[in-house]
Each structure stands twice: as structure tokens, then as C-alpha cells.
């Protein structure tokens, strides 16, 4: 009896101790956790999300010769608030073929870049993923090294090659393949080549990390059952690497739409890309409201692919966490 009472007391004490401990945890945790969450969250809200509200606001304002060069939307006069919403920037964008062509040209350029990167990048990612493990790390680093190297330097490297008196023309002339130098620089072609060059690592990396996880036994099984290599590639490998293809394509397509440096340095003056239009409206014309309106339309265009990419990444991360 005594024993039972004692053990009861013991277990009660233990439970109380346990409860105290978990209480301490609970007290410590929410405070610590909300602080840990609040710092990066607050930073992003203030410096990433909030700015878009200002862009939206300024896109509805009018340009003015002042500092800063736009009219405030809300003014107070005679004790009344006046709100002047100006839709002029947007009607201008949708009415003027210059802007429409620039948007269309950028989307097309980004889409073609994505497609070429995929066609070049897939065999490379596949080969590296199937290479012996000892070589894999070195090969991957060779792909990544240009990505770590300055973007500007990589674009500049092509200026010397594509220049109308550049190396490629010299080479072709000395090989007697052409009689007169080709106009390579400042064409759509030069922009296209450099775009592919600059964005290729962004395609290869996600493709590789997807393909490397592919279970080789599936391909062996297909081969054992008499499946030809190209057929097992089409029916096994390609469908299983869908997530890598989508992630890589998005990582190339979305930033490529707004590319500025490449069309500025190797592009044509006439056919504009929208990133360059935004830059010119802002820096050359000092028309901030127009630049803001161009930005809003671009964000609207890119929001769907960005959200789509984000949803897919979250899903694959959740799957990885479960395993």
C-alpha cells in the first residue's frame, strides 16, 4: 500500500516536472520563434513587397518637372482630399505599338532562349548525371564555373568575338568562307547567342539535380524487357524528369524576359526589349510614372509563371522532406 502510494507520488512528481519542462519550452519557443520569423519576414515585407505598392501608385501618376519627377496622387486642398488617378500611362502602353512590340519581342526572345537552352542543356545534364560518381563533381563544377564568373565579363567576352571587325569575321574571312565581313554584332542573332550563353547554367543545374535522382534500375528493367535505348529515354527518362525541365525552363524564361544588359551591349537599337525600354524611360527620359507602368505590366505578365514555379518547388521540397 505504502509502496503504491509512494510510486503514485513519484509518478505525479515526474508528470509535474515534465509539465513544467514543456511549459518552459512553450514559453521559450513562441517568443523565440516569432522573433526568428519576424526579422527576415519584416525585411522582405519592407524591402520587397512594399516597394511594389509604390510602383503601382506612381504608375497612376503624371510626370512632372520636380524632384522626384512625378505628381502626388493624393493632395489636400481646401480641407478636401483630391485623388487624381491618371490612366494615361497604361492607355499609352496599350496604344503605342512600340511598347507592344517590345513586350512581344521580349517574350519571344525569352521563349526561344529557353527552348535552345533546354535542347543544349538536357544532353549535358543527362551525361553528367550518368557519369561515374568520381567524375561527376568535376564536370558539374565545370558547368558552374561560368555561372560564378561575372555576368558582365561573360557578355563582354562575346563583344570581341561578334564585333563586325571581330574574331569570328576574321576567322571566316581567312578561311575564305565569306568575302565580306558579316554584320553579326547588334543583331537579333547576337542577342540570341549571348542570351543562351548567359542563361545555360540555370537550365543545366536543376535538370542535373533531377536526373541524378532517377533510379537507374528502371532503365535496366526497360532494357531487359527489350526496350530500345531511345524508346526507354522517351517513355521513362523524359517523363520522370518533367519537374527538372519545368524548373529549369522557368529559371531561364522569367529573368530572360526582363533582361537589360545583353540587349543593351550587343542588341539592335531599333528592336527593343522591354527591360531596355524600362531603363530608357527611367534613366534617359526621366519619366518615372511611365517606367512604373511598364514595370506593372511586366510584373502582371510574369506573376503567373513565378507563382507556378513557386508552387512546384514547394511541392517537391515537401516531398523531399517526407522521405
Amino acid at each position: 500500500m505504502m509502496n503504491r502510494l509512494l510510486s503514485l507520488r513519484d509518478s505525479r512528481e515526474a508528470a509535474a516536472r515534465g509539465a513544467r519542462r514543456s511549459l518552459r519550452w512553450q514559453r521559450a519557443l513562441p517568443r523565440g520563434r516569432s522573433l526568428v520569423t519576424a526579422v527576415p519576414y519584416g525585411w522582405l515585407l519592407l524591402f520587397f513587397l512594399l516597394p511594389f505598392l509604390f510602383v503601382l501608385q506612381i504608375s497612376f501618376s503624371e510626370v512632372e518637372i520636380a524632384s522626384p519627377p512625378y505628381r502626388a496622387l493624393v493632395t489636400r486642398a481646401e480641407d478636401a482630399l483630391h485623388i487624381a488617378l491618371n490612366l494615361g500611362n497604361f492607355t499609352y502602353i496599350f496604344g503605342d505599338p512600340l511598347y507592344f512590340d517590345a513586350y512581344l519581342g521580349s517574350l519571344r526572345m525569352a521563349a526561344v532562349t529557353t527552348l535552345i537552352c533546354l535542347l543544349i542543356g538536357y544532353p549535358v545534364a543527362y551525361t553528367i548525371a550518368r557519369a561515374p560518381e568520381a567524375k561527376r563533381n568535376t564536370l558539374l563544377m565545370l558547368v558552374m564555373l561560368p555561372f560564378w564568373t561575372s555576368f558582365l565579363v561573360r557578355v563582354y567576352a562575346w563583344m570581341g568575338i561578334l564585333d563586325n571587325e571581330g574574331l569570328l569575321n576574321h576567322l571566316l574571312l581567312s578561311l575564305k568562307l565569306i568575302d565580306a565581313p558579316l554584320a553579326l554584332m547588334h543583331t537579333q542573332l547576337s542577342v540570341q547567342v549571348v542570351m543562351v550563353y548567359a542563361y545555360l547554367p540555370f537550365m543545366i543545374l536543376p535538370l542535373f539535380s533531377n536526373l541524378v535522382k532517377l533510379d537507374g534500375r528502371l532503365l535496366e528493367a526497360a532494357a531487359d524487357l527489350g526496350c530500345k535505348p531511345w524508346k526507354s529515354f522517351l517513355t521513362v527518362t523524359l517523363p520522370l524528369s518533367k519537374n527538372g525541365v519545368i524548373a529549369g525552363s522557368m529559371l531561364v524564361f522569367i529573368p530572360a524576359v526582363g533582361e537589360f544588359v545583353i540587349p543593351e551591349l550587343v542588341g539592335t537599337p531599333e528592336s527593343l526589349m522591354i527591360g531596355k525600354v524600362l531603363w530608357m524611360e527611367f534613366f534617359d527620359n526621366n519619366n518615372w510614372p511611365m517606367a512604373a507602368a511598364v514595370t506593372i505590366v511586366m510584373v502582371a505578365l510574369l506573376l503567373v509563371p513565378i507563382v507556378y514555379l513557386h508552387k512546384r518547388e514547394e511541392k517537391s521540397l515537401a516531398r523531399a522532406a517526407k522521405h
Binding site: 522582405l44 520587397f48 570581341g160 524576359v257 544588359v261 527611367f282
Partner: protein, 276 residues
């Protein structure tokens, strides 16, 4: 997937792509030693452009500024990135967590002209409301770079936190260690290689950034990429070839070195795991 040998097609595609990636850079390096002022005509070997470069005060001071900003912003973005990685990998769902995760992904893919313009407009409005920041310069560039870099850092840290073996953490928790102690004594050492590589990534992103910097810089603050851009816009320039060569070599040494260190650390980890 683990193959035995690289197929003929594989070898062909690798050699084609690697020459596509590296030939332009090698040509760039070769022409930095060109005696001729015309960048595309070979006029003999010379180191003169390096002398010109090192005596160019504008380049030296722009490099100093870039280095300062890159150090400051990579340090801050790693701190914020670790916190954000913890929130995403370890904390349970909370209200608007998906908004948070979305704001982490977005700066990585968002065209930089958009990020740059929107941040600039924020600073202009802030100045009108509070008079702060009084002018654009190192501080505003730093904020922009931190926001861009923390996205990359978070992705690296988060995936390491998700992948890592949590048993040691759980054991410490069962033994009654406080969360803060667990984090500093267990989690942080385990993810240290990921922190190192994200620090390197943030540093190179910051020191290389042109577009966001162009929007956020003031009259007195010209970074190295801005200087290069303003010269390259005017055409080919052998001095820039010399500068580019130094950049490429520095990055190569840094990345290969970091990679070797990390491979060694990984091997040690695998061996330890196999031994126990």
C-alpha cells in the same frame, strides 16, 4: 542514377558545350596580353594593359567600394538567410507562411530592372516621409544586395536543413537542451559547409551586380560593375580585358578551392557515418 562510362554521344555533347562555355573566356584572356590597342588584332605579347589597369585610380576605388559592399551584404544576407531557412524548414505552418516562402523565391527570378526600380521608388518615398535615407549610396545598395542575396542563401540553407539527419538534434532535445543551445552547438556546425558556400555565392552575386546597383547608387558611389559597364558601352577596351582576366582567375581559384574543401568535408562525413 549511376552509370559506368560516358557514351560517345555524351562525350560529344560535353565537349561541344564546354567549348561553347569556355572558348569566349579563353579568347578574352588571350587578348588581355595583346600589345595592339585594337582589341581584335593580335599585335604581340605585352603586359601593358595590366600596368594601365593598376594605375587607373577610378578602377581601384570602384573595386574598393564593391569589395566593401560585397562583404557587408554577404554577411547580412547569410544571417537573414539562416533565419529564413530555419523558418521554412523547421517551423510548422503559420498564417501567411506561403506568402513568406513566395517572397523568398521571387527575388531570384524577378528581372533585376523590376527589383531595382521598385526599391528605388521605396527609398524616394521614404525620404519624402521621414527624410531618411538622405541620399542614395552604400546603404541603399547594401539593402538591395542583401534582399537579392538572401533569397539564394535561404534556398541553399533550407535544402541542407531539410536533408540533414535530425537524430542528434532530437537526442539533444530529449536530454533537455534549450533550442538556442541546440541551434548553436548542433545545427550550426552540421550546416557549416552550406553556410560557407552560400556566403561565397552571396559575395559573388553582390560584387557582380550591375542593374540593381544602377538604380540604387548615388552620384558618389560607382561600383566596379558600373564602371566596367560605362566603359564597355563605348566599345571594346583592352584594359577591361585585363580586368576581366583577373576577375575570372580570382573566381576560378576561389571556387575550386572551396569545392575541394567541401569535397574533403563531405568525404570525412561519409567515412564517419560509415565507421559508426
Amino acid at each position: 542514377m549511376n552509370g559506368k562510362n560516358i557514351s560517345g554521344f555524351g562525350k560529344l555533347s560535353l565537349s561541344l558545350v564546354f567549348s561553347f562555355l569556355y572558348v569566349p573566356i579563353l579568347i578574352l584572356i588571350a587578348y588581355s596580353f595583346n600589345a595592339s590597342k585594337l582589341v581584335t588584332v593580335w599585335g604581340g605579347f605585352s603586359k601593358q594593359w595590366y600596368t594601365v589597369l593598376f594605375n587607373d585610380d577610378a578602377v581601384v576605388s570602384a573595386f574598393g567600394l564593391s569589395l566593401q559592399i560585397a562583404l557587408l551584404s554577404s554577411a547580412m544576407s547569410v544571417v537573414l538567410g539562416i533565419l529564413a531557412g530555419l523558418v521554412l524548414a523547421r517551423f510548422g505552418p503559420f498564417q501567411s507562411k506561403s506568402l513568406f516562402a513566395g517572397m523568398i523565391t521571387a527575388p531570384m527570378v524577378m528581372p533585376e530592372v523590376i527589383t531595382g526600380l521598385s526599391m528605388l521608388l521605396l527609398f524616394v518615398e521614404m525620404q519624402q516621409w521621414f527624410g531618411f535615407p538622405a541620399e542614395r549610396g552604400v546603404l541603399t545598395i547594401w539593402v538591395g544586395h542583401v534582399t537579392l542575396c538572401m533569397a539564394y542563401v535561404t534556398v541553399v540553407i533550407r535544402s541542407r536543413l531539410v536533408e540533414m539527419d535530425r537524430s542528434v538534434e532530437e537526442a539533444a532535445m530529449d536530454l533537455g537542451a534549450r533550442p538556442l543551445k541546440i541551434f548553436f552547438q548542433i545545427t550550426l556546425p552540421i550546416i557549416a559547409p552550406a553556410i560557407a558556400s552560400s556566403l561565397l555565392l552571396a559575395f559573388t552575386l553582390s560584387i557582380d551586380d550591375l542593374v540593381i546597383t544602377a538604380f540604387l547608387s548615388g552620384p558618389g558611389s560607382t561600383t566596379l560593375p558600373q564602371l566596367i559597364f560605362s566603359r564597355v558601352r563605348l566599345g571594346l577596351n583592352p584594359e577591361i580585358n585585363a580586368l576581366a582576366t583577373i576577375t575570372v582567375l580570382a573566381v576560378t581559384v576561389l571556387v575550386i578551392g572551396a569545392n575541394r574543401v567541401m569535397v574533403k568535408a563531405e568525404l570525412r562525413r561519409v567515412r564517419l557515418a560509415a565507421a559508426t
